[in-house]
């Protein structure tokens, strides 16, 4: 038995396979994007669609995965500032440290909104590089995918041709899908939406949605009673289509407000697999738009 296992392992080791890239993604949307561009890559995601990427608990497995990664793909722009720097340091993997080719920050590939002119701790969540939730505009994904293809090609020159051809095919499908989403989302133009956390501004800009404010008084600070009652007063008479939150956010704030205003409170997938419908990048955006359209029919 043991000899057979040994034999098989030796045979497997001897087959000159094209070594698959090992990729560590901080969030599921980047894991999904890498899988689109490099289906053979060994991809691990640090968080699921039900976890807040701002914060995770240290687990030995995370350090081990970063240690053997060829490429780390994260939103960046300080979204993971609470844990990623520590994880990278503990991994002692020189190739994936910031500034190295093995370190890819998605948010840095696109134009970010809300880059502050001055950083003041009093203003809540510190994002000196701007709002990091860039995955919520599909046009950003187009740009990030193009940059990621080049990065994959740089790290794995033997597979460069494959990455570029899959990148081009993805680009075409994605651009076509964007046209479809924009057509479906036409009724959402000008609609006012309230959100739990300030993580949807890229979606608003893309679809022409009016930003109705947040349940959090300052980014990252849980809704307070006084802020909720202030919102309630402000909402008197205003037409708001929906109160949206991510799957990992506490439902009580938005349900409280929904109960008092009659505005539907809904969960929107902020990433792939955050809802049952969002199984890949394409169905994720389908689901976002379907849920927003359904909210208006109630």
């Amino acid at each position: 038995m043991f000899r057979n296992i040994l034999l098989v392992s030796v045979l497997l080791a001897a087959v000159p396979v094209h070594a698959a890239l090992r990729v560590f993604a901080c969030e599921p949307e980047w894991a999904a994007l890498v899988t689109e561009l490099a289906p053979d890559a060994d991809v691990a995601a640090a968080t699921t669609g039900f976890q807040d990427p701002h914060y995770i608990q240290a687990r030995p497995g995370l350090i081990a995965k970063v240690r053997r990664a060829d490429l780390v793909v994260c939103a960046g722009a300080d979204l993971e500032v609470g844990w990623l720097p520590l994880l990278l340091r503990q991994s002692s993997n020189a190739g994936v440290q910031p500034g190295q080719p093995g370190y890819f920050e998605a948010a840095m590939q696109v134009e970010r909104l809300e880059v502050p002119t001055s950083v003041d701790r009093a203003e809540g969540d510190l994002h000196p590089y701007g709002n990091p939730h860039v995955q919520l505009d599909p046009n950003n994904i187009t740009l990030i995918a193009a940059a990621l293809v080049e990065r994959l090609a740089q790290l794995d020159p033997a597979g460069a041709e494959g990455y570029r051809s899959r990148g081009a095919a993805f680009d075409a499908r994605w651009r076509q899908a964007i046209v479809g989403w924009e057509a479906r989302a036409e009724p959402l133009r000008g609609a006012r939406i309230l959100s739990h956390h300030r993580s949807w501004i890229y979606l608003y800009r893309w679809l022409g949605i009016v930003d109705g404010g947040e349940l959090e008084p300052k980014p990252g600070i849980p809704p307070t009673t006084s802020h909720l009652s202030e919102l309630l007063t402000r909402l008197q008479g205003a037409t708001v289509r929906a109160i949206i939150r991510s799957a990992y956010q506490d439902a009580r704030g938005s349900e409280w407000l929904a109960g008092r205003t009659g505005i539907p409170a809904i969960v929107l997938p902020n990433t792939v697999r955050a809802t049952d419908g969002a199984t890949d990048l394409f169905s994720w955006y389908d689901d976002i738009i379907t849920r927003l359209l359904e909210a208006g029919e109630r």
Binding site: H54, Y55, A58, R59, P60, I63, K65, R67, Q90, A122
Partner: protein
């Protein structure tokens, strides 16, 4: 299952941190148990944490010396207060400790009310992030503990209640920032509890052995099951202690 995570260079620093914590907390825990003031460590650890939180609320750099000074000052003041209440109120000491604990815990929440990472900071203080320790953190911790252990065993008997409270406050301040309140409590109480009744060095050695085995098994389980290390170690310490206590009472039903 994730065999890669068993890599000694990943678990090593965390295990060394665990051994350092055990080195000081096991003798202190036996004393805590003897004095019957079990929850003092929760209170003092929480006060030290309040000092850290207050320092960061002033905008001081998280790893800076001023934060350490603030934490030690808070913990020492808390310990002095508890030493005074022990003499003043005696039989109500446990109740006073409990009230001090909830005040320190909720005080931290109030101080962090306007901090976007406040929830994370409170959670870190409780569960700790033992996996993030490195040698730069372990060296000063080891030196400090060596001094505290020297004082503890060197001045034994002559220390008195005040000496115990001060050594306790300084030791817990260092450990709580690395392993968190839960693991500090478990490291103090669980080995001491499982070996209660075993006197002198024999009891100490047994408690140290149990603690070290608990940390090792906990770290391994956390690697294999991909679960947060601090919480798993608390459980492995408790399970191991329950097994040991069961064997002891089976072998010696009188004890």
């Amino acid at each position: 299952m994730n065999m890669d995570a068993l890599d000694p260079s990943i678990m090593g620093p965390a295990f060394i941190a665990g051994l350092l914590v055990l080195a000081t907390h096991v003798p202190l825990g036996r004393e805590v148990l003897k004095r019957g003031i079990i929850f003092i460590d929760l209170a003092v650890a929480q006060i030290a944490g309040l000092g850290v939180i207050a320092a960061s609320a002033f905008g001081w750099a998280p790893q800076g010396w001023r934060v350490q000074v603030a934490a030690v000052t808070a913990a020492v003041l808390g310990a002095l207060f508890l030493h005074w209440t022990e003499r003043r109120f005696g039989r109500f000491q446990e109740a006073v400790i409990g009230v001090v604990f909830v005040l320190a815990a909720t005080g931290g929440i109030l101080l962090l009310a306007a901090d976007p990472h406040g929830g994370d900071a409170v959670r870190d203080l409780l569960v700790g992030q033992i996996l993030w320790v490195d040698m730069q953190r372990l060296l000063p911790m080891g030196l400090l503990y060596a001094v505290m252990l020297g004082l503890w065993f060197g001045l034994r008997g002559r220390l008195g209640g005040l000496g115990f409270y001060l050594i306790f406050a300084i030791t817990v301040t260092a450990s709580v920032q690395v392993v968190g309140v839960y693991l500090v409590f478990a490291s103090l109480i669980v080995p001491a509890l499982a070996t209660q009744g075993m006197a002198g060095w024999r009891g100490l050695a047994a408690a140290w052995g149990l603690g070290a085995t608990g940390y090792l098994l906990g770290l391994a389980a956390s690697a294999l099951l991909d679960l947060p290390s601090g919480a798993v170690i608390v459980w492995s310490l408790a399970l191991l202690a329950a097994i040991i206590a069961g064997i002891r009472s089976w072998k010696n039903p009188e004890a």
